[in-house]
């Protein structure tokens, strides 16, 4: 079990606004947050509080309008689009509420996708994909297409795809939002295991108290401002 160490995510006076024509709509305002490597944080708050926006900014798929955002040792504001894409491939694993698997690719091919951007050979890619397939207990489903999998299995493939490149940070937006209770529990257990056994830093956005209780910390946002950070006693 790894212990939280130095901040892998350093956020200082972070601001994000959307513009509708000339109208500025602030979503995040002057947010400060440090997340240590190996941390498991749940971002919570009512709709419109800015939690998904914060997750997107940390994952490098959106740009802040102000403040400092350092993730995995990189100041994201200083990276151009191509550098940011490459940075995401190396450092971030995404898990979406609707799984977002590519329907024309089977489980193996979906998981292999992030590795296509690396210099790994075909044999090396195969080895890595099989390794994560075993980890998510889907070796026997490797040839199945998303339409041939249950929701829980699809999300496990999505998790395998997120971790196959060995990223430092996993971000998950409502990862159990589309699952029944049993499958949701399995996914949460898997995420806890990834955090505890493999030392992955995990951030999840959730409305589900059960999912939030799997995290070690809960970050509560209110109208784009950090309300409180609570340590979870598990």
């Amino acid at each position: 079990m790894s212990q939280p160490t130095a901040p892998i995510i350093h956020i200082q006076s972070l601001a994000k606004s959307y513009f509708r024509e000339t109208l500025e709509i602030p979503v995040l305002q002057g947010l400060d947050l440090d997340i240590p490597a190996g941390g498991f944080y749940a971002l919570m708050g009512p709709s419109g509080s800015g939690k998904t926006t914060l997750l997107n900014l940390i994952a490098g798929i959106d740009r802040p309008t102000g403040g400092l955002l350092e993730v995995c040792g990189s100041n994201l504001n200083q990276l151009n689009d191509d550098e940011l894409a490459s940075w995401r491939n190396e450092n971030i694993g995404f898990i979406f509420q609707n799984y977002n698997l590519i329907p024309v690719l089977n489980a193996f091919e979906n998981i292999e996708l992030p590795l296509l951007l690396t210099s790994l050979t075909r044999a090396q890619r195969k080895e890595k994909v099989e390794e994560v397939l075993s980890l998510v207990n889907l070796m026997d489903r490797r040839e199945n297409y998303p339409r041939q999998l249950s929701g829980g299995q699809e999300q496990r493939v999505a998790i395998a795809r997120a971790i196959v490149g060995n990223p430092k940070v996993l971000v998950a937006d409502e990862p159990t939002g589309a699952l029944d209770a049993k499958n949701a529990d399995e996914i949460l257990e898997m995420m806890q295991r990834l955090n505890e056994e493999f030392g992955k830093t995990i951030l999840i956005v959730t409305h589900d108290p059960k999912a939030a209780n799997c995290a070690r910390h809960q970050v509560h946002l209110e109208k784009g401002i950090l309300d409180k950070t609570v340590e979870v006693n598990r």
Partner: protein, 385 residues
């Protein structure tokens, strides 16, 4: 290469849609290739390479009327004229009406001077033997190969225009510059005159070779003026113009073909743009997911473009393949009836033109939706469920 699998799978996302657009592309490219090749073949016929100093004198009223053979005397007297060969399309077939090819009754001596560029590869002895034998003939290499003929064989020719069926003996096999030239048989003009009463003293046309090409307008004008207001007036024209009269019988082919080509191009561009736009738009979320994973904008654009170009390359190649097959069939089935079709094949320039057009259509139809898709922000793309 590692992305080819992804490109192929994306292309096969909707097999029915891909199949239908592929069929549309194949048919369009096939149509354009065949039409442009037809135009190129007709152009080649009307711009046939000649020695430059040859022209034809025919009846002013048309190709089906005859000229008195005595006109030849006046033609030969012209100081610019090197040789005159009277010639008549015989229109016979070999054994079966299906075995139809070009066959002419020609002056057996002067034809070798007048058509020295069309008839080559015969030895002096073969020419002399042909000229000596009234029932002799010479055949082109392609024709001889087709029927397995060799020198000395007897060829029964059944007339379709003239009531005559000569038994001809092959005295030589010649080479030509084009397939249509090698698909031809020549026999003695005198044999036609002897065999067909109403052809005695008449000919379909005179082929004339002058000292220089500059002489042609002057001599042609002089000949037509000389026979003007006579019972049988003449029409002198350059060789290419003569061939063009055949082509013109079919109307303004060039304008029709270009018109159809443009219409097909516009239609296929609209269809392809619509299909590719739909195919890319429905993948907005997938594109966002790929980019979230680390695929750069350029990489995604490359994948989408590769998909579009692979589709049109496949359609183009299959369309050209189909056109090539149809050209071969047309050549073999209709070549004997329509002489110009004997040289009907897809020119490299036409293939390149059609493939180029297909690629341009693929590029245009993919680049616009692909650019729009990759310019969309990842967050916006993920929301587009």
């Amino acid at each position: 290469m590692k992305f080819l699998h992804l490109v192929w799978k994306s292309l096969m996302r909707s097999k029915r849609r891909t199949f239908l657009i592929l069929c549309t592309l194949i048919l369009s490219v096939f149509l354009i290739t065949i039409l442009q090749s037809l135009l190129a073949t007709l152009d080649a016929v009307s711009n046939k390479p000649t020695e430059g100093n040859r022209f034809v004198v025919r009846h002013k009223s048309g190709l089906t009327q005859f000229l008195p053979i005595s006109y030849g005397e006046y033609l030969r007297q012209q100081p610019e004229v090197l040789a005159v060969a009277n010639s008549q399309w015989f229109g016979g077939y070999y054994q079966d009406p299906k075995n139809f090819f070009a066959n002419f009754a020609n002056d057996e001596t002067t034809m070798f001077q007048v058509f020295s560029d069309r008839i080559s590869g015969l030895t002096e002895a073969e020419i002399k033997e042909y000229q000596r034998d009234r029932k002799g003939c010479i055949v082109g290499q392609i024709l001889a190969d087709k029927y397995g003929w060799k020198v000395g064989d007897t060829i029964p020719l059944t007339g379709t225009i003239f009531p005559m069926s000569p038994q001809l003996t092959i005295r030589g096999i010649f080479k030509g510059r084009m397939a249509s030239e090698e698909n031809t048989l020549y026999f003695h003009y005198k044999l036609l005159e002897e065999g067909v009463q109403f052809m005695k003293g008449k000919t379909g046309a005179f082929w004339i070779k002058t000292k220089t090409s500059d002489d042609i307008p002057r001599v042609a004008n002089r000949i037509d003026t000389h026979f003007a207001n006579s019972p049988v007036e003449t029409m002198s024209e350059a060789e290419n113009a003569f061939y063009l009269t055949f082509v013109k019988m079919l109307g303004n082919i060039g304008a029709i073909i270009h018109g159809v080509t443009i219409a097909v191009l516009i239609a296929i561009t609209i269809v392809t743009v619509g299909t590719m736009s739909m195919a890319i738009k429905e993948r907005t979320t997938e594109i966002a997911v790929l980019r979230a994973m680390g695929f750069s904008r350029a990489r995604v654009l490359f994948l989408l473009m590769a998909e579009g170009l692979l589709l049109v390359t496949l359609g183009g190649a299959l369309g050209i393949g189909l056109a090539s097959l149809v050209a071969k069939i047309l050549r073999e089935i209709l070549g004997s009836a329509l002489i110009f079709l004997q040289d009907f094949r897809l020119a490299n320039e036409t293939i390149l033109l059609c493939m180029g057009m297909a690629l341009i259509i693929g590029f245009i139809s993919t680049i616009i939706p692909a650019l729009a898709a990759t310019r969309r922000s990842i967050v916006e793309g993920l929301r587009a469920l």
